[in-house]
Amino acid sequence: MNVKLRDPNIIMKLSRLGSFHQSRLSFLRSFLNEFKDWEYNRDLFNLDKNGYGTAVYSFKKNDRVYSLVCFANEIKDDERSDRVIATKWDAAFTLHDGIPLKKDIERLKNEVPKQEVGRLSYKELTLSRANKSVRVFNHVVESLSKGIQPDLDKLEKVGYLYRTTAVYGSGKFGLADRFRIQNRDEINGPFRLEMMLVYLVRQFTFDQVNHVAKKINPKSAVNLDPKICKNLGIGNSTGLGMAPFIVNHPTLLNNWILCRETALKEIREIKNVSIIESDLFKNCIKNSIKNITSWNTESEYQQNKIKLLLKDVRKFTYFMEEKFDFQKDFPFNELYLWLEKETCDECIEYVVSIMMEPFEKIIQPLIKKMSSDEDKYFNIPTDRTLGDLKIILEKKYSNILTIDFKKKENYKKFWFISKNKEEPRIADRFKEQGSDLEQPLAIARDIKRLYDRLLPFKSNIKISKFLIDNADLRHVIRRAFIIEKFPYSEIQDNTISEKTIPIDMLRLKLSFFGALKFDPRSDKWLRICMFQGAPLPNELKDYDEQWVYKSHN
C-alpha cells in the first residue's frame, strides 16, 4: 500500500497547525534520548539561606562538557513579570560550552542576570531566565521545612515551580553562532541545547526548594519526594517572539512537518501490527487521557478545544476497544481514515502523535532529518522563467491565491518589531500607527501580489529581468522557489487576517518542542509546561520512553 503524504493545503492551515501535540519527534524527547548515557553532575551549589547564589550543573561525555550556570537573585514581588518588558527575574541561566572557570562565572554573573542587555560570548550556547510560581514555590518550601510533602492538588493546578519567560540561542546577544557547533553529533536535532538548558533548570528548581527548606528547619526538613519532582516540569510563558520564527525559517519548518508526515505515512503503510505494538499504542491513548483532564486553562477558546478533544478521544477509544481489530491489514491506515471522518482536528493530530509511540525504528532516522542547511536554498534561480514561477504559485499556493486582499478584514493586522523591546508584535493597521514599518510576514498577501503582478508578463521572461523592476517582491520570489522543493515550508493561511489567531503559530512550534498543557492567556501569549513526567537526571540511564503519558499530574 502506498499512502500519500497529507496535503499541505490542509495540514499547513493555521487552525490545524494550532492543534499539533508533542510526539516522539519532539525536541525535548529526542534530547533525553541523546543524552541519556551522558554523565550528569551538580558541580557547584553555592546558595544562601534564602536560595540566592550560584549553581553549576553539567552533562559530560568523553571530552565534551556542557555546563548550566545558574544565578538565583532576590527580586521584589512587584518586579516579577513574565512579560518581555521585565528587567529582573528570580533566576537567570546560561549553558556554557565546557567547564566554566572562576573568571567565566564572575563574567557571567555580571551579564546573565541582565539577559537582553547583557553580553555573552562564543563560549555560551543558550541563555534564559525564569520566575517562580510564587504560590507553589512558597507552599512547597513551607511544607518541606515542616517535614511534610506538599499538597499534590496545589501542585497539579500549576505543574511546575518555575517558568521560563525566554530561552535564547544561535548567536543572540553574543552567544555562539550555530555554525560553531553544528558538526557535533549530539546536537544534530533542532533546539537540543535549549532543551538541555530547560531540563537542567528543572533540576535546579528542585534543589533550590530542598535547600531553602533545609535552611529554614535543618532538623525536620525533608527533601521533595522524587516521585513528586518527576511530575513537575518547567513552565514557560511565550509571546509573539516565537511566531516569526516559523515564517523566517521555511526549510526548517518543512523538515519538521515533513518528518511528522513521513512518520504518519510509514505507520499507515504497515501491513501487520504486532500485539506488543498495538497494546503500547492503546495504553498510551488510555493513559494520555489524564493529560487532557489535568489540562487547566482559563481560556474559553482552549477550554472548548479541550472539551471537544476529550469527547473525541473517548469516542476514538471506544471505537478502538470495541469495534476495531488490530489484526486486520493496515490497521493504522484504517484508524487514521476513521479519525478524519469522525473527529476534530485537535483529536486527529493528538492521535497521530500517539501513533508514533510504538515505532522507534521509523522515528529515530527521521529525528536526524529535522535540521536544515538553510543557506543552501537561499539563492534565487534567476535563470528560471516567469512561466515556471506562475506554475509554482498556482500549484503550491492555490488556496492563498483565492484570498481577496482588497477586503479590509483580510489585511487588517500587521506585524512589526517593537522599538522598546526589539520583539515582534501584531497590531490593527487601521487603528495603530507603524504599518509602514511592517515586517515581511504577510506572505499570503505578498504571494498574491506577486501572482497578480506577473500575470501580464510573457512566460518566457527570466526571473532576473522581472526582478529589476520588482525588487519589492524579491522575498516572496525566493520563497516560491523554496516551496517548489519543500512542500511544507509555508503556512497555507493568511497571517494578517482579522481572524488570525497568533497563538496557533506559537502552538505549532511549542508542540515540536514537546510542550504540554497549552494555556492561552490571550490570543497573543500562552503558558505551557515542559518535561512534566520526565525522568530525573539520575534516572536517565534507564527510563521509560513513554513517560509523557505516565505523569500523575
Binding site: N379, L467, D472
Partner: protein, 204 residues
C-alpha cells in the same frame, strides 16, 4: 564580540531602513555576514555607505550590465550592482571579462561576486587600481589588500570569469601520480580471476 547572527540581523534591518526592499535586505545581510566571516570590514563599509545614503548622497543603479560599462555621472551603488550581477551572472558569464567604472565601496560588491562564483562554478577575479581579489566558489576570498589601502571608490574595475584550469603542470601531476602508485598492489592471475566481471563476456 558580535555573533554572525547579530551581524546578519542588524544588516538586514539597517538595509531595509535605508530603503532597500526586504528581499534585497536579506541579500545584503547574507553578504555582510560573509565579509565579516572572511575577515573583511563588512560592517564598517556598510555603515559608511549608509551614512552617505542618509545624507542624501546619490549613487547610480546599473541594471543593464554590459561587457564594457560606460562612466556614469555618479558612482555606482555596490549593492544594486551586486544584486543585478548575481541575478544575471549566467547571462554575463559568456563575456569572460566585464569592465565597470566608479563603483562606490567596492568591498561591499565582493560577496555578491563570491556567491556568483559558486553559482557558475568558476573562480572570479576582480581587479581595481592595485587591488586583486580572487573569489573561490564562495569558499574564501584571496586578496593582498591591506585595510588602509582599500579605496572608497574603485575607479577602473575589471572582472574576469576564470576557466576551470589546473594550477600545476602535467609534469608536477605525473610525478605525484607515480608516487601514489606505490600504494597499489600488483595483481596476480588468481586475483584477476576473482575481480568484478571476470568470467563473463561483455556481449552476453
Amino acid at each position: 564580540m558580535k555573533s554572525l547572527s547579530e551581524i546578519e540581523t542588524i544588516s538586514k534591518r539597517a538595509s531595509r531602513a535605508v530603503g532597500f526592499s526586504w528581499g534585497e535586505a536579506e541579500e545584503i545581510a547574507k553578504c555582510v555576514r560573509m565579509l565579516e566571516l572572511f575577515g573583511f570590514p563588512g560592517i564598517k563599509n556598510l555603515n559608511q555607505y549608509y551614512k552617505l545614503i542618509n545624507k542624501k548622497k546619490k549613487f547610480e543603479s546599473l541594471t543593464n550590465i554590459k561587457k564594457k560599462n560606460k562612466l556614469n555621472k555618479l558612482p555606482l551603488c555596490p549593492i544594486n550592482l551586486g544584486i543585478c550581477f548575481l541575478d544575471q551572472i549566467k547571462i554575463l558569464m559568456p563575456f569572460k571579462k566585464i569592465n565597470f567604472l566608479n563603483i562606490a565601496y567596492p568591498v561591499l560588491f565582493l560577496p555578491f561576486l563570491s556567491r556568483g562564483s559558486e553559482i557558475i562554478g568558476k573562480k572570479i577575479l576582480i581587479k581595481f587600481e592595485k587591488n586583486n581579489f580572487l573569489l573561490n566558489f564562495n569558499v574564501n576570498i584571496l586578496s593582498k589588500f591591506s585595510k588602509k589601502e582599500l579605496p572608497l571608490i574603485a575607479k577602473k574595475v575589471e572582472i574576469s570569469f576564470l576557466e576551470n584550469k589546473d594550477s600545476f603542470t602535467a609534469k608536477e601531476w605525473n610525478n605525484l601520480y607515480r608516487l601514489s602508485k606505490n600504494t597499489f598492489v600488483e595483481e596476480t592471475e588468481s586475483l584477476k580471476q576473482g575481480a568484478a566481471g571476470a568470467g563473463l563476456t561483455d556481449n552476453d
